[in-house]
Symmetry: C3
Subunit: 216 residues, 3 copies
């Protein structure tokens, strides 16, 4: 059984570890600043991984992106992984769907229930999270995070280091730049420039309905 | 083949009945105020079920929640089920995904296409409906309804008797109280207190585009 | 192996072709004004298909709808297909879920990850795209397009020639008319009349967050 080392020890690491096991890997070690959920196999951080790299068949980047800050952390870790030529195969849930002609670069993670349609391309170390949908011929850059339930339309493109929030959308053929943050439930109806941020309008708290739903 | 009695006879009962059959149950009887779709196996209501309980291996609560009123109806039925110690196993669609370490309390229903991620916990009689997504380590209380396509982020929590509308979201780590109604497509970016109601902003009807799309 | 001819050669045609192959068809020819992705098997347009119809076991309408204009194009092509009695079986992804009692008319396409619930009815040539959700007992008319991730509630109805955008919703039991356009991420909380258009409110571009997420 091939062995895998995780980089990162938080909740996202547990999701990656599960998918890795479903793909036949033994999750043998965790390298992280904080051991998180993986104290039992925690073996230090990056220097330690370099020293012990021959012990593993593959590594997986398991730091999730939920903000500009964590996108940047991932970017720096990816540069380090590439510099040291650590082998990071794509990890695809057997409960995801990758259609004919879809191409996944090294390091890509595809979660349960996600659909990557015909001839879509996903760049290095991008995350297509649970039940996200990537349309036909879409081009997703490197280190992009497509959060759960989000939709990238057919022929759309998303630049490197961009964060697409949960249940948000990029319409068919629309071009989204690099280093964009498209907030939760937002829609890119038109192109978004490099570095753009889009935030949702707030929902309405309903004052006169705040009575408890049910008696105590 | 073990036998199951439904409580409730509406459309949601049909969905539960299908999942029960896919799990090897014979759906033998329906107890409901209105027989609904199940007239052919309708055998009365709660008193009748109590009298005939020895005839079934399990019961399933099949009243759906779409409002505060129906959340309360469910709550009262659950109290009755618990008081009488009727056996209500979790019913999980074989087309749903329950990850490693996910824990489902008695009475939980998980619909087709739903994903319950690593180490998530779902409390008694909660409904994780079609294609809903529960993140890693999320804690969902009892009698919670997560409507189709909704997303509960990793590490988030949702209190008892709460209704999460279709395609709505609770962001990662956010705490949503008891007896909350989060409307269709709404987003809990921040914590919601017990009893809160959140409603969507209305979309825009487009007046000058109301001509028929195609000629008659 | 039965043979299939595509009508249309764009990206949606690739998705239909994949599902057809997964259903055991040989995709033998493409008839389209523009050969698109199918130059290698392109054999002309409608007149040519009529002349060569005996060479195929089935045809599939592969023009996607994303606007009133393309809904109308589809409508005219459907009328032509019906007039000439060309055989167009429903094509359902083996990775979709069609529940007990769901009825699909000829020409219906159901994409990967979609869920058509118990006793739902889908009319001729409608498209239930990737991961869309059709509730129990919902009645979807003919030539309706339900875009990826959209939700049609239990017992709702959608009239002919209507376009339901990605991640949009029709609430339980709500009646949506013919020739409606429900925009991306919009919600039909109440009935929509024939010909209505609903558009999303725009999200907020966040001016002071447009700095690049990560250094160049």
């Amino acid at each position: 059984m091939p062995t895998l080392a995780l980089i990162g020890g938080g909740g996202f690491a547990k999701e990656v570890a599960e998918v890795a096991r479903l793909n036949g890997y033994e999750v043998a070690a965790c390298y992280a600043e904080n051991a998180g959920y993986f104290g039992h196999i925690h073996r230090g951080y990056l220097d330690d991984l370099l020293a012990e790299r021959d012990g593993y068949d593959a590594v997986a980047l398991c730091v999730g992106a939920t903000s500009r800050r964590s996108v940047q952390v991932r970017r720096e870790l990816i540069a380090w992984l590439v510099r040291h030529a650590l082998p990071a195969p794509p990890l695809v849930s057997p409960r995801a769907i990758c259609a004919e002609g879809a191409r996944l670069a090294p390091g890509v993670f595809v979660g349960h229930g996600a659909v990557v349609a015909v001839d879509a391309v996903v760049g290095g170390f991008s995350v297509i999270n649970v039940s996200a949908m990537i349309g036909h011929d879409a081009v997703v850059g490197a280190n992009v995070t497509v959060a759960p339930g989000a939709f990238i339309g057919g022929g759309a493109s998303v630049g490197d280091d961009t964060l697409i929030g949960p249940l948000s959308m990029v319409m068919q053929g629309v071009r989204v730049g690099r280093e964009v943050v498209l907030g939760a439930g937002c829609t890119a109806l038109r192109p978004l420039k490099d570095g753009a941020s889009v935030w949702p309008r707030l929902d309405r708290p309903v004052k006169d309905m705040t009575a408890p739903a049910v008696p105590a």
